[in-house]
């Protein structure tokens, strides 16, 4: 784990600074978490690709000095699938928003998980659509306020972790922007993991979610994140999670880290069996 003072600027695309993110937004903390993880892994940025969708999180690829793709809303994982399959050398990281990954792009998320393709999805979950001005998301909790649920949401929220686990992702973690000590480690673990990884990071949107739900400013929201989550036995064996345990406090930590045949490997095995000789790249 790198120390807070470490210089991450070599990883960043300076000409795109400052970011579009609002003061107090948690997305910058997550970007820092990703950068810290990359620094700790010492990866060559020539061989790292960021593929983002549309929304506040979708802008993340602009800020990393790597191979950057800013695609269409919800489809980043499908683009990333093609990219990874033909160039398996690339480390592919997909920053996704909650609407991006679970509303319009839900189909791609579950299928990437099912295939277990070696891509790291980092879900920036701030429970709201920020870029378009505060509409409800599939992760907005019941009764929460948004501009499209002005009287409170009547839809239950998706649990990203449960969804990813059920769909077959082989590395699944959840953390928050408050828990910055753990975040880079979980992300680094996901990048190192050979298979489909989902790291959900609960992030704060003081501009919309905080204001509409009277959760205060960014520091208040960080404390809110602290209080509504409970750290699992950190990095021990993956726990058995029961629904009862999830009531009230949301567990955070590492939920699954297991090996299962990875999709690109499987495919290249198939090429070998078919006598296709050289691999795609």
């Amino acid at each position: 784990m790198t120390k807070p003072g470490i210089d991450l600027t070599p990883l960043l695309r300076q000409e795109m600074m400052p970011t579009v993110w609002c003061p107090g937004c948690g997305h910058g903390i997550i970007a820092r978490g990703i950068a810290t993880a990359l620094m700790s892994l010492g990866l060559d940025m020539d061989q790292v690709a960021f593929v983002g969708g549309i929304g506040c999180s979708g802008r993340a690829p602009f800020y990393f000095d790597a191979n950057s793709m800013h695609t269409t809303h919800g489809r980043a994982l499908a683009f990333a699938t093609g990219l990874k399959m033909v160039n398996p050398k690339l480390t592919v990281i997909v920053p996704m928003g909650d609407g991006d990954s679970m509303a319009i792009g839900g189909n791609h998320l579950i299928h990437a998980a099912r295939r277990n393709i070696d891509i790291t999805a980092v879900v920036f979950n701030n429970s709201i659509y920020g870029m378009t001005g505060g509409q409800g998301a599939p992760t907005s909790p019941l009764d929460s306020r948004s501009t499209t649920s002005p009287m409170g949401s009547i839809e239950p929220a998706f649990d990203t972790v449960e969804l990813a686990l059920a769909a077959g992702a082989t590395y699944v973690a959840r953390t928050t922007t408050f828990d910055f000590q753990e975040m880079p480690q979980l992300i680094a673990g996901a990048i190192r993991h050979h298979g489909f990884s989902v790291v959900e990071v609960l992030s704060q949107c003081p501009t919309y979610y905080g204001r509409l739900n009277k959760l205060g400013e960014a520091p208040d929201m960080l404390l809110y994140e602290r209080d509504r989550t409970k750290l699992l036995e950190a990095f021990g064996p993956p726990p058995e999670i029961t629904r009862e345990e999830m009531v009230g406090q949301l567990p955070i930590g590492l939920f699954r880290d297991e090996e299962r045949p990875e999709y690109v490997d499987q495919y290249h095995g198939l090429i070998a069996r078919a006598g296709g000789g050289k691999s795609a790249s």
């Binding site: 400052p18 579009v20 993110w21 609002c22 003061p23 549309i54 506040c56 800013h70 269409t72 809303h73 609407g99 509303a103 319009i104 839900g106 659509y129 920020g130 870029m131 378009t132 001005g133 509409q135 409800g136 599939p138 501009t147 499209t148 649920s149 002005p150 009287m151 501009t207 919309y208």
Partner: protein
């Protein structure tokens, strides 16, 4: 040009620039002036330069102007970016805390005003912008009590202290300008106070849909269409309606319309491209569906916060196969109300998708509206059968009966003996799948025939000053504001110019358009896109000949009346008109 003045406030996004512009615009509107309020912004929520311009006149204005008379700067960036818009000697009010400097060559009169400091003295940093409003009111020689009254109403809910702070801020700003000897620097001519609405096209379109009986709205957030969804999310529960935020909105709309509701969706380019499959299903099943496409710069994500009119070809030709679509395009908030209403009538009458092509400028910029013409509209549900008719039926109900005008009787689920199969596969009169060549031709021709009468629909074009016009400008959508202003100015100069606004773009109203353009020596098609999409459609309708010219504007900025005037002058030289 009408006598107008423009006031601009600029700063960082998230600093209440819009809200301040809104206050200034609304008070001037109450004082009887016509307002056009527009914003420069980018796809981010906070930070980054933004500015809001309030253009003020005594006649209706629906376009930006090239210069501004007063600039209020909350950041140095505001000065650097916008001071070129100021006339020489015009006042530039800048927060003295910035230690503002004028770029080289700028001849504006820099007025340093301690906005932040005054707000601090009042004990409420948030009233900084209100100090600027008070100062601006003084510069224009406007009565400060009108602002005080507005502030009192606006902040009443927040308590007496907030009201007092804001009123104090207004007063301090006003006093500063008095001391500086700049009161009524740009005195506005008196106007007759009159209450008008100050609204956007998204606002009026939402109300039009509500008035038309739309009670289901499904959408997915996307700039610049989201306001419609948000408006209706607040309005619908009071009228028994519902807004559903969907990951595939068009499908819910088709389902709801099938059930007999009036339902719609609103989106922008990328979402519109995604809806092409669903729109085709509505065409094939002859289920009415209203789709609002609020255009922004494309292709792909393009520039989500900048104006363009480049989805026209996709609206007409975007689906696979040959499905019927009606495409209409409002240009003003009043027209957006009309079209928001009439879209549902057209959809029910012709049993097909109706695409309302709005655009960012219409959707988001504030304009003065005298009244929304509710009286002229009647709900027409088209050929929905009544239960008695069905009861008399001896055979099967034929939902897709081949009729002379191509419109078939429509039953709604729940009507007895009115059951039918709605399928996207080719079907016979009963709705059951049939792929025989005879049936295919009969159904295709039936569906195509439906829209024929629309080519001559009254109101499909709106023309002004055609008599004796040498040059006729043709346009659609929000550029009508700039075009109308240009036409009026040119006519005052003695240039014989008229204009045609195409309100219905598909089916192309070729007959009335040809008649309208018959007398012109030159036709100038004005569009905010790169490839002249409406002109291409006019060409398709065999309207084009050697008289046609284009003014294309597609850098994302709003088209100004001045640019249209220049284009007309260039054309006059070229064509010796």
């Amino acid at each position: 040009m009408p006598e107008s003045l423009a006031w601009m406030i600029g700063g960082d996004q998230g600093e209440g620039i819009d809200a301040t512009g809104d206050v200034f615009g609304r008070v001037l509107s109450r004082l009887g002036y016509y307002i056009y309020g527009y914003r420069h912004f980018s796809s981010r929520i906070k930070g980054g330069h933004t500015n809001f311009t309030v253009r003020i006149a005594r006649e209706r204005i629906l376009a930006p102007q090239d210069e501004v008379e007063v600039l209020v700067a909350l950041t140095q960036e505001t000065i650097d970016r916008n001071c070129a818009l100021l006339r020489d000697g015009a006042p530039l009010l800048a927060d003295s805390q910035l230690k503002p400097t004028l770029p080289e060559g700028c001849q504006a009169q820099l007025v340093e005003i301690p906005l932040t400091q005054v707000a601090r003295e009042i004990g409420a940093p948030v009233v900084r912008n209100m100090v600027a409003v008070g100062a601006s009111a003084a510069l224009f020689g406007l009565p400060i009590d009108a602002f005080e009254t507005y502030v009192r109403e606006k902040f009443e809910r927040k308590g007496a202290e907030v009201v007092a702070q804001n009123i104090a801020a207004l007063g301090r700003g006003h006093a500063f300008i008095e001391e500086a000897g700049l009161v009524a620097r740009f005195a506005l001519p008196d106007a007759v106070p009159r209450e008008r609405y100050l609204m956007t096209g998204n606002d009026s379109l939402s109300l039009g849909a509500l008035a038309a009986g739309c009670r289901i709205m499904a959408a997915y957030p996307i700039t610049p269409a989201t306001d419609i969804m948000e408006n209706l999310a607040s309005l619908f529960p009071r009228f028994g309606g519902a807004v559903c935020q969907m990951e595939a909105a068009i499908t819910l709309v088709i389902g709801a319309n099938y059930a007999g509701a009036r339902a719609m969706t609103a989106t922008s380019g990328p979402g519109f491209s995604l809806m092409q499959e669903g729109i085709g299903l509505a065409s094939m099943t002859e289920i009415p569906a209203v789709v609002i496409d609020t255009q922004r710069v494309g292709p792909s994500t393009g520039m989500p916060t900048k104006n363009e009119q480049s989805d026209l070809m996709a609206a007409v030709f975007g689906g696979h196969g040959e499905g019927q679509r009606i495409v209409i395009a409002p240009g003003t908030a009043v027209q957006a109300f009309d079209d928001g209403f009439e879209a549902f009538n057209l959809a029910d009458r012709y049993q097909c998708p109706v695409i309302v092509l709005s655009d960012l400028a219409l959707a988001q910029w504030l304009q003065s509206v005298e009244d929304l013409p509710l009286k002229g509209h009647l709900i027409d549900r088209g050929a929905i059968v009544d239960q008695a008719e069905l009861d008399r039926l001896t055979g099967e109900f034929e939902r897709y009966r081949v009729t002379e005008d191509g419109v078939s009787p429509r039953a709604l689920p729940g009507m007895q003996k009115g059951q039918f199969l709605a399928t996207g596969v080719e079907h016979a009169a009963s709705g059951k799948v049939s792929e025989t060549p005879q049936n295919r031709v009969a159904q295709m021709e039936k569906r195509s025939r439906k829209l024929e009468p629309l080519r001559a629909r009254p109101g499909a074009i709106e023309a002004r000053h055609l008599d004796g016009a040498d040059i006729v400008i043709a346009c659609f959508g929000s550029v009508i504001g700039a075009v109308d202003e240009a036409v009026d100015a040119l006519r005052r100069e003695g240039v014989r110019v008229g204009r045609v606004q195409v309100r219905q773009l598909w089916p192309m109203p070729d007959v009335p358009l040809a008649a309208a353009l018959a007398g012109a020596r030159a036709v100038l098609v004005v569009e905010q896109n790169a490839t002249g999409e409406m002109r291409q459609l006019m060409r398709i309708a065999s309207l084009e000949d050697g008289r046609y010219h284009s003014l294309l504007h597609f850098d994302g900025t709003l088209l100004s009346p001045q640019r249209v005037i220049e284009a007309v002058h260039e054309l006059r030289v070229e064509e010796e008109v």
